[in-house]
């Protein structure tokens, strides 16, 4: 049975989304995207220079990929909305990753402003994927407002620490109907695999690929890890057995053998 990733009214093969920042050059970035098998890539509008012949990042995004512009640099809902509109007007499509950060020390997202931007942009016809701190009630509000997915962070951007927010993300996976995509903090393929094993619909990775010594090979490692994690999740991962044996005095022994 084909296991397609459905988001924003479309179907994709890959459950690995790739960010395009931090690469040493666009040629390597392009190869890494191709090797990752990603169908959706995110680009910061702040870095797009349409006037540049040689250095326009958009020329290096494989044509089969869906472009998801992100609002990196936005400090409130208003700025995020303006960036989204600029992207659409500039021909970058209507898929938008909302990223509102008021904290330059940790780059943690501002959920309330993010929600405001979701509400406005969904009404304007954007496919909106908000990057957020993993908070169930906020995720519910984003879903109610029409977000196509929710993207909780695993750890701060660029920290490579893995899914430190696992308990909260697992609750979101259980309770939220739109795809839950872990975005930020994933530092190695095994961590991406873990996200998939706990039932996340997809993961978004950037730093770990971009700053690796061999970004192209690392992209393929993430591709395989995401597929492995997904297959394991679909197979049903058995609960881990405890280390202790059977208790010598069973807690329900007093019931006897009567049925």
């Amino acid at each position: 049975m084909e296991d397609l990733f459905r988001v924003g009214g479309r179907e994709f093969q890959s459950r690995l989304l790739l960010g395009t920042g931090k690469f040493a050059n666009y040629a390597v970035m392009k190869k890494a995207i191709e090797e990752s098998g990603s169908d959706i890539v995110t680009v910061a509008l702040r870095r797009v220079d349409p006037g540049s012949q040689a250095d326009n990042i958009l020329d290096f995004i494989p044509p089969q990929c869906t472009l998801m512009t992100n609002t990196s640099g936005a400090r409130d809902a208003d700025e995020a909305i303006r960036i989204a509109r600029l992207a659409k007007a500039g021909g970058a499509g209507n898929w938008i990753k909302i990223e509102v950060v008021q904290d330059n020390k940790y780059l943690l997202p501002e959920n309330l402003e993010t929600l405001k931007a979701v509400e406005v942009l969904v009404k304007e016809g954007f496919v909106v994927l908000p990057y957020m701190s993993p908070d169930l009630s906020m995720a519910r509000r984003m879903e109610d407002a029409g977000a196509a997915a929710v993207m909780p962070l695993g750890a701060p951007i660029g920290s490579n620490r893995g899914i430190k927010t696992r308990e909260l993300v697992e609750i979101m996976v259980r309770e939220i109907k739109v795809p839950v995509i872990v975005d930020a903090g994933i530092g190695s393929p095994s961590q991406a695999c873990e996200c998939m094993e706990i039932g996340c619909a997809a993961v978004l990775v950037n730093t770990a690929v971009a700053i690796s010594e061999n970004p192209v090979q690392m992209a393929s490692a993430f591709r395989d890890a995401v597929m492995a994690g997904r297959r394991a999740y679909l197979s049903g991962i058995p609960e881990k057995g405890g280390l202790s044996g059977v208790a010598s005095s069973p807690l329900t022994g007093f019931l006897g053998d009567e049925k």
Partner: protein, 370 residues
Amino acid sequence: MTFYNTLQESEACLRNFDAHEISRGSVIRAVESESCSPERLLTLLSPKASDDLELMARKAHEITLRQFGRVIQLYTPLYLSNFCDNQCSYCGFNARNRVPRKTLTLEEIEREAAYIASTGLKHILILTGGSRPHAPLSYIKSAVRVLKKYFSSISAEIYALSEGEYAELAAEGVDGLTIYQETYHEAVYDRVHKAGPKKDFQFRLEAPERAARGAFRNVNIGALLGLSDWRRESFFLGMHAGYLQDRFPNVEISASVPRIRPHEGDFSGFEQVSDRDLVQMILALRLFLPRLGITLSTRESPRLRENLIPLGVTRMSAGSTTEVGGHTIACHDAEDASQFKIADERNVEEIKAMLVARGYQPVLKDWMRL
């Protein structure tokens, strides 16, 4: 409460800190720690830590890669005017120096802008001397209106303004402010700023926080290395940057690490800051404040600049001239009217090629006006 109060508290920390008590173990702990305590910064800047620069460099490189990636943002300065009412002993624009003075007309600004834009740069830093009468705020705002047509981000390095004036400039389309305290040593500050409005230490010191309140997106601070003991200056610079990050989390804070360069006029009596010292300073700042932007100007030689990149630098100037109209108007054979002599004269293409060869992506556009 302003940074002036924090500066006085930090002075006390400095007095109570005994660098002789620092062991290798405490240096290693300071490298690995994520604490923002003044003692950690002092340890990273201590003479003992200078024995472990390689250890510090490896950690600083790793942090910089994770936080900023393999990219360096490029910009170039555009000098609008060199008239100055101050007498700063380290600067070629010193009011007492007999150098040709000029303020660009709007037409000349447009010519310079068109030339710089043709190199592909989208970020510009406009500078004036410290003379309000010759380069009033209204003039700077007119210049910004011209420059907006050519650049996606405009920063300013000008005489200190009030909060309301900074807000005016931000509303006009300037998104960043660069202002150096020059020295955090109040007595030295008073001595090297012999006369002029810049003599007011506290007004200068509090300018970055006025700018942050005035809605700038980026604030870049700095100390001019060589005016006073570099360890002391680096410590207060780090404390100042940390103070600004804590109070204005939605403003990107960065720091420059300029060493005094030869210039027109008196050039003597300054302290030597070696390459090794400069490296320790950059490393200490990076380890202390992982998200701090670090700007490196063309004051440093090509070779040194290239080697400093992986240690924590996030932004560099390229194709620089420190002369008014230096790109298209000034006659370079004429009398020297530059603010200081630059050491890296490579143009934008050459700097881009160098970055690519070093495995870094030159970023020419990293913002746009909304």
